[in-house]
């Protein structure tokens, strides 16, 4: 529904965004790709050369890699499940006629404003610390040994912290969707004899499909790159227990100063992100159609 001139104008209007994003994507990616086939160690800068797929093979042969891959997916999957399920429950709760709903929302939204290093340090020091943390105080209050969160359950702890950061996002989107559901629909279902669970299952949940899709899509985009929280708390440890793919790449680049390997890891991470994106778009794209 348009004319040649408006279509031409449209192309020129989209062009800056597309060109900028293309450069932003392709230039660093091409450089990363180049380095990934090179021997390039900052500690021995004289020895350089082509090494074929060696950098990649190093990753595939490293047991840490598979753990990191698993950790990355566990982090994304774990946070998604926790935030979506809790988000739905909290949204259902807040959507009830409760006193002071506006202020409640202010409280619930707060974690979203906390930058990752601060969030991680609050949890690490004020809560999970084995001596001074609030959790250890609670454990001692019950006469139990404090749990060593970051040592014994590093990945679960990181998942917990990240879930706390993203819970407001999920809750508020789901709440918005919930509030747009007409009460007449629910009343009609009630007249039709649907129980509370049936109303949730057949009316409320389908209504929220689109919102859940948005939550999964946006969160996945941000979760795949989670870095700061691990850097601040566990540093990927103990050992490699909480090392994700981004963190493993970071270790190769900064600790081992092996740019070639880090670059190969980067390419692998990009491929992984593309695979995830592909399945995400295929599985969820339909829900976004208007």
């Amino acid at each position: 529904m348009s004319t040649h001139s408006s279509r031409l104008a449209a192309r020129m209007m989209v062009a800056p965004s597309v060109v900028l994003l293309l450069i932003w994507m392709i230039v660093p990616l091409a450089m990363t790709l180049y380095y990934s086939f090179r021997l390039y160690r900052l500690l021995s800068p004289d020895r350089t050369g082509w090494v074929g797929f060696n950098n990649y093979l190093w990753f595939f042969n490293s047991p840490d890699f598979w753990l990191a891959l698993f950790n990355t997916l566990a982090l994304v999957g774990g946070v998604l499940v926790i935030t979506v399920v809790l988000g739905i429950l909290i949204a259902l709760l807040i959507d009830q006629p409760v006193k002071g709903q506006g202020f409640l929302r202010i409280l619930v939204i707060a974690p979203f404003f906390v930058m990752p290093p601060v969030a991680a340090s609050i949890w690490e020091n004020l809560f999970m610390h084995p001596q001074n943390g609030l959790f250890s105080a609670i454990a001692r209050g019950f006469g139990a040994q404090p749990i060593l969160f970051l040592e014994q359950y590093p990945m679960l702890s990181v998942i917990g912290i990240v879930s706390w950061e993203w819970l407001p996002f999920a809750t508020l989107i789901l709440l918005t969707a919930l509030q747009s559901l007409s009460s007449e629909q629910l009343e009609a279902a009630e007249m039709d004899g649907a129980s509370a669970f049936a109303r949730f299952r057949y009316i409320i949940l389908p209504h929220m499909t689109r919102a859940i899709t948005v939550v999964i899509l946006i969160q996945t985009i941000f979760l795949l790159g989670i870095f700061g929280e691990i850097f601040t708390t566990t540093q990927g440890g103990p050992g490699s227990a909480s090392t994700t793919l981004p963190y493993m790449i970071f270790k190769q680049a900064i600790a081992a100063k092996d740019i070639g390997r880090a670059a190969a890891g980067g390419i692998i991470a990009v491929i992984l992100a593309n695979i995830v994106a592909y399945f995400l778009m295929r599985g969820l794209g339909r829900n976004l159609e208007n």
Binding site: M1, S2, R7, A9, A10, M13, V14, P16, S17, V18, L20, W24, P28, M31, T32, L93, P97, V98, K99, L104, I106, L107, V108, I109, A110, P111, F112, F113, M115, P117, I122, L126, F127, Q131, N132, A137, W164, F169, L172, S180, R210, A211, I221, G225, F227, G228, T232, P246, I249, A253, A262, A263, G266, A269, A273, N274, V276, A277, M281, G285
Partner: protein, 276 residues
Amino acid sequence: MARALSHRRMWITTAAAWAVALLIFFPVLWMILTSFKTEPSAVAMPPQFLSADWTLENYAEVWARSDYPRFFWNSVVIAVGSTLLGLVIAIPAAWAMAFVPGRKTKDLLMWMLSTKMMPAVAVMIPLYLIFQRLGLMDTRIGLVLVLMLMNLPIIVWMLYTYFKEIPGEILEAARMDGANLWNEIAHVLTPMALPGIASTMLLNIILAWNEAFWTIVLTTTRAAPLSAFIASFSAPQGLFYAKLSAASAMAILPILILGWFSQKQLVRGLTFGAVK
């Protein structure tokens, strides 16, 4: 009978909702409380609530020992600058996608979004090298550019969903009324989409403010924003809880207050315009 019951139910749900909300908010609250305690009181076991020694000393000390205003100003410039620049580039693109859609529009949008899936760490080294080569290292303009590019797909997507709610007939009317493209966008589309643009702006300012990878990797001192301030503070200070908490509070309070005051627009923005 029924009324009394529902009245009771309302109090129960109210209590439950408040309990959950306080639980979610508690870490922030605890951090703020700790920031007003003396160091011994902050690590006292069992934890002190009302019996703590209250003090403003931590804030005074953090203020004295670091150049907070510079970090703060860098954060403002980078967050607001990257958002405004992003809007200038994204508004025309979103206009085109919303009002002159083609078969490829949806794919283009998804492609833009997918550029965000690229882990920052993966391109850290190339970007570091490019920044060094171009002399952008530790400059605010460099960070404005990077954060703008990072958030551009989100800005385009949000604006696209808001613009699509505006009936195309109004823009056609403007065209019939003799408006050229600039007038159409400046006098009709932008004022009409102002609430959506405001939401987009807010959300992206927050995302940029809280960005804590590039802001740390690509800065040292001159352009370092509050994310770098907090990172530098937690490392050497070790376990000075109260001061760490005070510094944390100073890093997040500006955005927390902004977010609370503009909660309504923000919630709209948070849904990325995709949920009505």
